[in-house]
C-alpha cells in the first residue's frame, strides 16, 4: 500500500466517519449486520458531496447555490438477489438498522465471515483536491462576467447570454465483505455558456462548455470563459443561417469528439454486463463475433488523466481500468460490476457506478471512445456525393433490446459533391447499433475526446461520462429532417 493510498483513506475517513463517531475498524461491525444468514457479499458505501453553482444572466450573477449531500448505502447480495437500504446519518445505529434491512432479502442460510479490510492500492487518475477552493467568489463571478462580455461583443445579434460555473467535491469510501477497502476524492468542475441570437425575427440558441476532474482554478487558467463564449456565439450564428434538414437515408459523416455519443448509444449501453447477463441486449452472447467494420476499435477507459468520466476506483472499490470492447470490429468484452461479473463468470472491469449512496451500483460507462484510423478527414468529406456532416449533438437514447438508437444533431451541414455547403437545422439521426457499426466505411486519423459535458442516464441514475471518436463515415443512416 502506498502512502498516497493511506493519505486518501485517512482523509476520507476523517470527512465521512469521524463526525458520526466511527472509524475504519468500526466498519467490520457495520458490515456484520449486513452479512446475515445466506448473504454472499455485502458492502458499505459512504459518500459526502459539496456542490456549488454560480449562474449569470442579464450580465449579472444573480443566483448561486450550495448543496451538501451525504450518507451511507448498504447492500447485501445473495445469488441474483439484492437487498438495499440507506441512511443520511453515518453512525453505528444507522449502520445496524440499514444493514439488517438489506440483509432481510434472505432469511436462511450460511453465515459468512467478513474478510479483513485490505486497503486497495489503485493509481490516482486525478488529484484528490477540493475543486471549490482556490478561486475566490470574486474570481468566479469575474469569469462569468468575462464570458458575458465576450459573447455580447462577438456579434450584435446576441440577445441573451447565460453562463454557469459548477463544481462538486465528492468523497467516497467503500468497505466490502470480500476485504475491499478503498477511498476516493473526486473533483468535478464545468463551465458552460449558452446564448440566444435574434436576427430578422429568427431566434436560435448556441451553447458550449466543458470541464473535468480538477480544480476550478484550471478553468480560469485555460481561459474557458472566453473560448466557450466565442464557440456558443459561433454555433448560434451558424444556426441562424440553417435551412431545413433533409429526410431519409443517406451517408453521414460525424465530426471528431462529442459525436462519439453515437458509440455511447449505439454500442456502449448494449455492452453493459447487466443487460448481457439477462440476455436483453442485442449484443448478448456475441463475444468473439464481428459486430462492426474492420478498423473499428472501441474502448472504455477510466484511466485517462483528469477526464470527466475517469475513476481512480469505481463505486465498488475496483480500480478504474481500460477495457477494449470492440477490437478491429470483433466484440471482445463487456463492462462489469461485481454482481454481474460473478454471475457471468467474468472479472469486474471497474465499471460499477452509482449516482449516490442512495442508489444501487450498476455497470456503467466511463470514457468511451473509438481509436483513430488512417483516413484524412478531408478525404472522408470528399468521398460523399450527397449527405450530412454532423459536428455537434444534443443527446441520444437507445433501446438495448432492439438495438435502435437515436441522437440529435445541434450543428450539422449538407455535403454536396464532396463539399460542405449549407448549415441545416438540428435533426434526429436513427439507426440500429450493430447495423450502423457495420456501415462504418472510413475512420479519420483525428481522434478527439469531448470537452467534458456528458451526463449518462440509466434507470433514473445520472453519472458523468466522457465520449470521443475520430471523423467517421457511415455509409447509410436515417436523417430525420423535414425536406424530402
Amino acid at each position: 500500500m502506498t502512502s498516497q493510498t493511506h493519505a486518501m483513506l485517512d482523509e476520507a475517513s476523517g470527512l465521512l466517519l469521524t463526525p458520526g463517531g466511527l472509524d475504519l475498524a468500526a466498519l467490520d461491525d457495520g458490515l456484520g449486520h449486513a452479512m446475515g444468514p445466506g448473504i454472499d457479499y455485502a458492502d458499505l458505501y459512504f459518500q459526502r458531496s459539496w456542490h456549488e453553482g454560480w449562474v449569470l444572466e442579464d450580465g449579472e450573477v444573480k443566483e448561486a447555490s450550495y448543496n451538501i449531500d451525504g450518507g451511507v448505502g448498504v447492500r447485501a447480495l445473495a445469488g441474483e438477489k439484492t437487498g438495499f437500504a440507506y441512511s443520511n446519518q453515518i453512525t453505528a445505529d444507522a449502520l445496524a438498522e440499514t444493514g439488517r434491512t438489506a440483509a432481510g432479502i434472505v432469511r436462511r442460510g450460511e453465515r459468512r465471515v467478513v474478510a479483513p479490510g485490505v486497503a486497495m492500492a489503485g493509481q490516482a487518475r486525478y488529484a484528490g483536491v477540493d475543486p471549490l477552493t482556490g478561486l475566490s467568489a470574486e474570481d468566479k463571478i469575474a469569469m462569468l462576467k468575462l464570458a458575458d462580455r465576450v459573447a455580447r461583443a462577438a456579434d450584435p445579434s446576441v440577445a441573451q447570454v447565460s453562463a454557469s460555473l459548477t463544481g462538486v467535491h465528492e468523497v467516497v469510501l467503500v468497505r466490502a465483505s470480500d476485504g475491499t477497502l478503498a477511498a476516493d476524492i473526486r473533483p468535478l468542475v464545468r463551465f458552460n455558456v449558452s446564448v440566444i441570437a435574434v436576427r430578422g425575427g429568427r431566434r436560435e440558441r448556441g451553447s458550449a462548455g466543458g470541464g473535468g476532474r480538477y480544480a476550478m482554478a484550471r478553468l480560469r487558467d485555460e481561459n474557458v470563459a472566453e473560448r466557450y463564449a466565442r464557440e456558443a456565439v459561433r454555433q448560434a450564428l451558424v444556426n441562424l443561417e440553417a435551412v431545413e434538414a433533409p429526410a431519409g437515408q443517406m451517408p453521414v459523416v460525424l465530426g471528431p469528439g462529442w459525436p462519439g455519443i453515437l458509440l455511447h448509444e449505439a454500442v456502449g449501453h448494449g455492452l453493459e454486463g447487466d443487460f448481457n447477463r439477462k440476455g436483453s441486449s442485442a449484443f448478448a452472447g456475441r463475444i468473439g463475433q464481428r459486430v462492426a467494420s474492420r478498423g473499428v476499435t472501441v474502448v472504455d477507459d477510466a484511466t485517462l488523466a483528469d477526464r470527466r468520466g475517469s475513476l481512480s476506483v469505481d463505486d465498488e472499490g475496483t480500480p478504474g481500468q481500460s477495457t477494449t470492447l470492440i477490437e478491429d470490429g470483433i466484440l471482445t468484452g463487456y463492462m462489469q460490476d461485481k454482481l454481474n461479473a460473478r454471475l457471468m463468470g467474468m472479472a469486474p472491469t471497474g465499471n460499477a457506478r452509482r449516482e449516490s449512496f442512495a442508489h444501487l451500483p450498476m455497470p456503467r460507462m466511463t470514457n468511451t471512445y473509438m481509436r483513430a484510423g488512417s483516413d484524412d478527414p478531408a478525404d472522408i468529406l470528399k468521398s460523399v456525393k450527397r449527405g450530412l456532416y454532423a459536428v455537434s449533438f444534443g443527446g441520444g437514447q437507445v433501446d438495448i433490446t432492439s438495438g435502435k438508437f437515436v441522437f440529435s444533431a445541434s450543428e450539422a451541414y449538407l455535403i454536396e459533391d464532396g463539399r460542405i455547403t449549407a448549415p441545416v437545422k438540428g435533426a434526429t439521426l436513427i439507426g440500429n447499433g450493430p447495423e450502423a457499426m457495420g456501415r462504418v466505411s472510413m475512420i479519420g486519423h483525428d481522434m478527439e475526446l469531448d470537452t467534458g459535458i456528458g451526463v449518462c442516464g440509466k434507470e433514473g441514475q445520472g453519472v458523468p461520462v466522457g465520449v470521443g471518436q475520430p471523423t467517421l463515415k457511415l455509409d447509410e443512416l436515417t436523417v430525420g429532417g423535414t425536406q424530402s
Binding site: K81, I196, R203, R205, T482
Partner: protein
C-alpha cells in the same frame, strides 16, 4: 413496510425546522427568507423470471433555504434536515448573498397573494404493505405477462410504494405543508422472432392503492404491447398524418407548457414569445389546470412561492390565453404571477373527443406513434425531430408495426395542425389527454 413512517410526526418536525430556519435567517441578517423541506419514504421490490431481484428501502429528506439581503439572493440546501445542518445551510445561503449581484425582480411573492385556503386534497393514501405482499404483487404481474404465448423472457416487474411530506414556508409568515403518497407497478417483457428481439412495458400508478389497475392486467397489457411490435418494418419516407398515443400527446402538452413558462419567455428562449392572445390551436381546443382537484396526481393549494393556486386557462378556444408564471418570472415580464411556481397542476383539456377508430379512419394512411426516442425538441425554435416506433395505418386500419424512423416538423405547425383528440384519455399522470391526430409531418424511414 419494515420501516414505520409517522407522517403527522414528520410533518410537525419539518414545520418546526422550517420555522427554526426562518428565525435563524432573520437573526443573522436576512431581510426575507423562504424554506422548502421534504421527507419521503418508500419501498421498491423488483422481480425477474419469477425470482426476487432487488428489495430497496428508501428514505430521503432535504431542506433548501433561499435568503434575500436587499435585492441580493443566496440559496443553499442539504440532504439532512437536522438542526446542525439547518444552521450550516442558512449561514451558507447568507454567505452567498454577500456575493451575488442586485436583482430588481428578486424577492418573495406579494404577501397578499399567499394561500389562505388550504383544504385537505386527499392525496395521502399510505399502503401498509409488507415486503412479502409487495413481492407477491410484482410476481403476479410478471407471471400474467410471461404466461402469454410468444413472450420469450421478462425484463422484470417492479412495485414501488412511497409517501412523504413537503413543507414550504416564508418570512411573510406563510407555512404550507402537504402529505402525499404514490404507488406504482410496472412490467417489461421481451419477445423474439427471426428478426430479433422487441421489448415493451406497461404500468399503473396512483395516489391510492385502490385506484391502481390489477397486477395481472398490467402484466397482460405489457405482453400485448410487446408482442404487437414483432415483425416491425421501416415505413416509407414521406409526408403523412401522425397519430400520437395518449402518453405521447401528454408530452406535446408538456412542450407547450415549457414554451409558455415564464423562465423560457424572459430568457427569449421560447418559440412562443409575444404570442399571448394569438391563435395557436384550432378553435375547438382549450387547455387548463385544476390544482385543487381532490385526489389528483399534482393537486396542491399553494405553489412553490406560497401563492394560492387557481384554475388557470392556458389555451381558450385555440388562443394562448395565459402564460405560466411564478412571482419572479412575472416580475421579469411585467405581469402578475399565475400561481405556477413549480409548474402546472393537473392539466385537463377540453375538446370534442372521438374514438380511436374514428381517428384512424380520418387519418386514412399514416403512422400511429406509440414510442418516441431522443431529445430532438428545440424549445427556442419549436423544431421537432424524434426517433419513433409504432404502427402503419392504411385505409384507416392498423396494418403492421413500424420502427427505426423519425417524425419531424415544428411544434407551432403541429399545434395548428391538430385535427382530432381521442376519447382514450390516459389518467395516470398529471396531464390527462387522449390521442392526438396531427394532419401532416415528415416521416423519414426507408
Amino acid at each position: 413496510m419494515t420501516q414505520a413512517f409517522d407522517a403527522a410526526a414528520q410533518q410537525t418536525l419539518l414545520e418546526s425546522r422550517a420555522r427554526m430556519a426562518l428565525e435563524l435567517a432573520r437573526r443573522l441578517g436576512a431581510d426575507a427568507c423562504e424554506i422548502g423541506a421534504s421527507v419521503d419514504q418508500g419501498v421498491g421490490v423488483s422481480v425477474r423470471e419469477g425470482e426476487v431481484e432487488t428489495v430497496e428501502l428508501s428514505r430521503d429528506q432535504g431542506i433548501a433555504v433561499t435568503v434575500y439581503v436587499g435585492q441580493r439572493k443566496g440559496s443553499a440546501s442539504s440532504s439532512d434536515a437536522g438542526e446542525a445542518s439547518v444552521r450550516v445551510v442558512v449561514e451558507k445561503a447568507l454567505a452567498i448573498a454577500r456575493h451575488t449581484g442586485e436583482d430588481p425582480a428578486s424577492g418573495l411573492a406579494d404577501a397578499r397573494l399567499m394561500a389562505t385556503e388550504l383544504p385537505d386534497l386527499d392525496v395521502h393514501h399510505p399502503w401498509p404493505l409488507s415486503i412479502d405482499e409487495a413481492t407477491d404483487l410484482a410476481l403476479r404481474c410478471e407471471s400474467a405477462g410471461r404466461g402469454m404465448a410468444g413472450i420469450r423472457s421478462s425484463d422484470g416487474a417492479s412495485l414501488s410504494s412511497g409517501e412523504g411530506v413537503r413543507v414550504y414556508a416564508n418570512s411573510h409568515g406563510f407555512l404550507g405543508s402537504q402529505c402525499g403518497s404514490r404507488h406504482s407497478l410496472s412490467c417489461m417483457l421481451i419477445a423474439e422472432d427471426e428478426n430479433g428481439m422487441q421489448r415493451d412495458y406497461d404500468y399503473t400508478s396512483a395516489r391510492a392503492p385502490r385506484d391502481m389497475a390489477a397486477a395481472e392486467t398490467v402484466g397482460e397489457s405489457a405482453a400485448r404491447r410487446t408482442l404487437r411490435r414483432l415483425g416491425a418494418r421501416r415505413p416509407a419516407t414521406g409526408r403523412m398524418p401522425v397519430l400520437f398515443d395518449p402518453t405521447l400527446a401528454a408530452g406535446l402538452v408538456g412542450h407547450l407548457m415549457g414554451a409558455i413558462a415564464g423562465g423560457a419567455l424572459y430568457r427569449q428562449a421560447s418559440f412562443l414569445c409575444d404570442r399571448l392572445n394569438t391563435p395557436l390551436f384550432p378553435e375547438w381546443f382549450s387547455l387548463g389546470e385544476r390544482p385543487m382537484e381532490v385526489g389528483a396526481m399534482a393537486s396542491s393549494p399553494f405553489d412553490g412561492d406560497g401563492v394560492q393556486t387557481r384554475d388557470n386557462v392556458f389555451v381558450r378556444d385555440g388562443r394562448l390565453a395565459s402564460y405560466m408564471l411564478s412571482a419572479y418570472s412575472a416580475r421579469r415580464l411585467g405581469l402578475e404571477t399565475t400561481g405556477n411556481a413549480g409548474g402546472a397542476r393537473n392539466l385537463r383539456l377540453s375538446a370534442p373527443l372521438e374514438s380511436r377508430e374514428a381517428l384512424l379512419a380520418r387519418m386514412g394512411r399514416g403512422v400511429l406513434v406509440t414510442e418516441l426516442m431522443g431529445q430532438g425538441v428545440n424549445g427556442v425554435t419549436g423544431d421537432y425531430s424524434r426517433g419513433a416506433a409504432g404502427f402503419w395505418v392504411e385505409d384507416g386500419e392498423i396494418r403492421h408495426p413500424v420502427e427505426e424512423f423519425t417524425i419531424a416538423g415544428n411544434l407551432e405547425t403541429m399545434f395548428r395542425g391538430l385535427v382530432g383528440v381521442g376519447d382514450d384519455t390516459d389518467t395516470r399522470g398529471s396531464i390527462h389527454t387522449g390521442s392526438w391526430l396531427v394532419d401532416e409531418m415528415m416521416v423519414a424511414g426507408s
